[in-house]
């Protein structure tokens, strides 16, 4: 099933995330990714919700009923730029250090902290690229990984 990306403009009010999340879960819809953050407009936040529904029409309508939800746009994947941030801490030792750092930087990750037995990488990119990095470093022993949730913006005006 293909993914659908909803870009939801909300009022920055207490509880708005809970309202959106509960509306979605109450109707039994699954969320692949959800990211929230401020926008350039004072008092407005943007949520990017990625789901795998055949039809997102019902979700959109139910979310639109929320008083604090201002606007919902479903993004067209062909005209969308998507980005996600990742922090990943991986085990290293004398033997693996060079190859881990090399592999990571070839994938586009930046090493932000390297210790004797660990290294921390940061990467921004499409979620597929982040998946690749994760798979690449898995054999070395990932200690911890966090991803920030996918955000997306339409390329055309």
């Amino acid at each position: 099933m293909s993914e659908r990306i909803l870009s939801v403009l909300v009022e920055d009010k207490p509880g708005v995330l809970a309202r959106v999340a509960s509306t979605i879960s109450r109707r039994g819809f699954n969320i692949n990714s959800l990211a929230v953050g401020p926008t350039n407009i004072e008092g407005r936040s943007k949520m990017t919700i990625v789901t795998e529904l055949e039809s997102v029409e019902q979700v959109k309508k139910q979310l639109n009923k929320l008083i604090n939800v201002i606007k919902i746009v479903e993004l067209d994947p062909d005209n969308t730029i998507e980005s996600e941030v990742l922090l990943l801490k991986v085990s290293i030792n004398k033997d693996t250090q060079t190859s881990v750092i090399e592999k990571a930087s070839l994938s586009g990750a930046k090493s932000v902290d390297v210790g004797q037995d660990y290294a921390v990488f940061e990467m921004t990119g499409s979620s597929k690229d982040l998946d690749k990095l994760e798979n690449l470093l898995k054999p070395f022993g990932i200690i911890e990984m966090i991803r920030g949730g996918r955000i997306a913006i339409q390329t055309k005006l």
Binding site: V10, E11, P14, G15, A18, R19, S22, R26, E57, Q58, K61, Q62, N64, K65, L66, I67, N68, V69, I70
Partner: protein, 570 residues
């Protein structure tokens, strides 16, 4: 602007007065106590319920009878949690409700303080919207906004939670003003293109049906509906929430379809080539299995709530808008179209003759609810308001009572809340002291909120209550007969405990009883005569009686079970 400072509590009361609220329902407690003090001097009538659930249903009854906002006030913690049932009920039936709850002091929130409950969280899915007040200045503005949200668009309940310290905070009154809410702009005017498309479908239709519900009543569109139906001779079916939106007895009215609807109403939809659905939501009690629902029909679906359109059935013509504007638009577009529906009406009338609603009241046998209802309606005022519980009696009332105007039938349709009838009747009577308010309840339902009879007596609200005592959770028993091989697990209540007459008398009401056919008229005459206090009539009825027709849940509306013999079809 006045310079005097008012407490948050005074602002609450002043805001209610400012919004012309004349009656509220509630029950005090620690966190809301500051608000009860200025209430003491206010012209607003406060009706003290015996349970917050009762106060919530009272506010609902008030709102459903008048079409205006109902207001309920409760304390924090258990007061607020007791409101969850009426809030959910109001959400399901789109009743405009404002609930004001006290909350523990701001600094104690989140500490599991005494009588703290996370009211905003708990009621998030039980309200159209809710608020936690964080400073006293907000109170007038938020209450006005809450009323606006509750009463416009698709109406519903809104809750405002106010911490106790904020009720005590002193600030200036700032006159509230409705400002634009960026995320709340209900669409009232339908898209003219959709109206044109709908009119085209109607013109082509040979077997149209107006399938209408509560939306007509909320929109006060009954006159427009009457014009649309009668001008173009389109038959009408009214859902459980829409009873009274189109007058029973009119030659075009085929009354209620669905699980316990009459055969003709249910079948008319199955045979129709065009459903003109207005202010309805294709509830499963109407559609049964939606796969088999109205398979031969195209659908025009008009609703003020866009989320209802396409939720169950994808319509050929979706229309978002207020029922009144939609219908007015349709009448204009159809102009002097001559719809020839006479064959279709003949077919329906023939069906109605062949499959009438029936009951069998024997001369010496136990009383049957439909018979009792018909006798009562002969004696009751034309503008009496009937308030039902949930169960067999509810279905019989909807089937056998003739509803001729909107807001005369109050019931819990969407949530099916037992215990709704008596308190909702109190709310209706508080709104209309001069009208007959008849709470027609089941014995099981009555026992859920019967303490509100004390509210009725002490607040001098002389409603009339009929308790249909079949000694059972009758509807449960009926399902156990049909689907569980007569294994009556936990559905028996007994006919004799409590002694309803003594119970009524002990609560300050008059208690009467009817057992036989010959009692019915006499006892009802007496009941209707008494007008200075509540009257309760215990009506002992046949525990074995079952509601028919019936379409089992998830079944097809093509297979209507008409009577006990028909159960073999299952």
């Amino acid at each position: 602007m006045s310079e005097e400072k008012l407490s948050g509590a005074e602002l609450v009361v002043r805001s209610l007065e400012y919004m012309n609220i004349s009656t509220i329902f509630g029950l005090p407690g620690g966190a809301i106590l500051p608000a009860y003090d200025p209430l003491y001097d206010s012209p607003i009538r406060h009706i003290l319920a015996r349970h917050e659930q009762g106060s919530g249903h009272m506010a609902e009854g008030y709102a459903q009878a008048t079409g205006e906002l109902g207001v309920v006030i409760a304390t924090s913690g258990p007061g607020a949690t007791n409101l969850i049932t009426p809030l959910t009920n109001a959400l399901m039936d789109s009743t405009p409700l404002l609930a004001i709850t006290g909350q523990v002091a701001s600094e104690a929130i989140g500490n599991d303080a005494f009588q703290e409950a996370y009211t905003v969280g708990l009621t998030m899915a039980a309200t159209k919207h809710n608020y936690l007040i964080t400073s006293a200045e907000e109170i007038p503005q938020v209450l006005l906004e809450a009323k606006h949200i509750a009463t416009t668009g698709r109406p519903g309940p809104v809750l405002v939670d106010i911490p106790k310290d904020i009720l005590n905070q002193k600030v200036e009154w700032i006159e509230p003003k409705l400002i634009e809410m960026p995320g709340y702009k209900p669409t009232l005017e339908p898209n003219p293109k959709m109206i044109s498309q709908a009119a085209e479908l109607i013109k082509q239709s040979k077997k149209p049906i107006l399938y209408v519900g509560g939306g007509i009543i909320h929109s006060k569109a009954n006159q427009e509906l009457f014009e649309l139906a009668t001008k173009f001779k389109i038959p009408v079916v009214t859902t459980l929430m829409g009873r009274g939106a189109f007058p029973d007895g009119n030659e075009l009215c085929f009354e209620m379809p669905g699980m316990h609807g009459n055969y003709t109403a249910t079948t008319s939809i199955q045979k129709s080539d065009l459903l003109i659905a207005i202010g309805v939501r294709f509830d499963d009690r109407v559609t049964a299995n939606p796969k088999f629902f109205a398979q031969n029909a195209k659908v025009i679906h008009a609703d003020i709530d866009p989320a209802e359109i396409g939720k169950i059935r994808e319509p050929e013509v979706p229309i978002v808008g207020d029922a009144k504007s939609v219908i007015t638009g349709l009448i204009e577009k159809l102009a002097d179209t001559d719809l020839n529906t006479s064959d279709w009406l003949d077919e329906l009338n023939q069906m109605k003759k062949e499959y009438p609603l029936s009951y069998n009241q024997e001369e010496k046998g136990p009383l049957k609810v439909p018979f009792v209802l018909e006798e009562l309606q002969k004696l009751a005022d034309d503008d009496a308001i009937v308030v039902s519980g949930v169960g067999q009696h509810q279905m019989w009332i909807s089937q056998h009572w003739n509803f001729t105007s909107p807001n005369t039938w109050l019931n819990s349709g969407g949530l099916g809340t037992m215990g709704y009838s008596l308190p909702a009747a109190i709310g209706a009577k508080a709104a209309y002291p001069d009208r007959q308010i008849l709470a027609l309840d089941g014995d099981g339902c009555f026992q859920m909120t019967c303490q509100e009879l004390i509210t009725a007596s002490t607040e001098n609200i002389p409603i009339k209550i009929v308790v249909f005592n079949n000694g059972n959770h009758g509807m449960v028993r009926q399902w156990q007969k049909i689907f569980y091989k007569n294994r009556f697990s936990a559905s028996e209540l007994t006919h004799h405990t409590p002694d309803y007459v003594a119970l009524a008398e002990s609560m300050g009401a008059t208690g009467l009883r009817m057992i036989e056919k010959s009692d019915v008229k006499k006892v009802f005459e007496k009941m209707l005569e008494i007008d200075d206090k509540p009257v309760l009539v215990e009506c002992i009825v046949d525990p074995e009686d079952m509601v028919f027709p019936m379409v089992p849940a998830g079944g097809s509306n093509d297979v209507v079970i008409l009577n006990e013999d028909d159960l073999k079809k299952l």
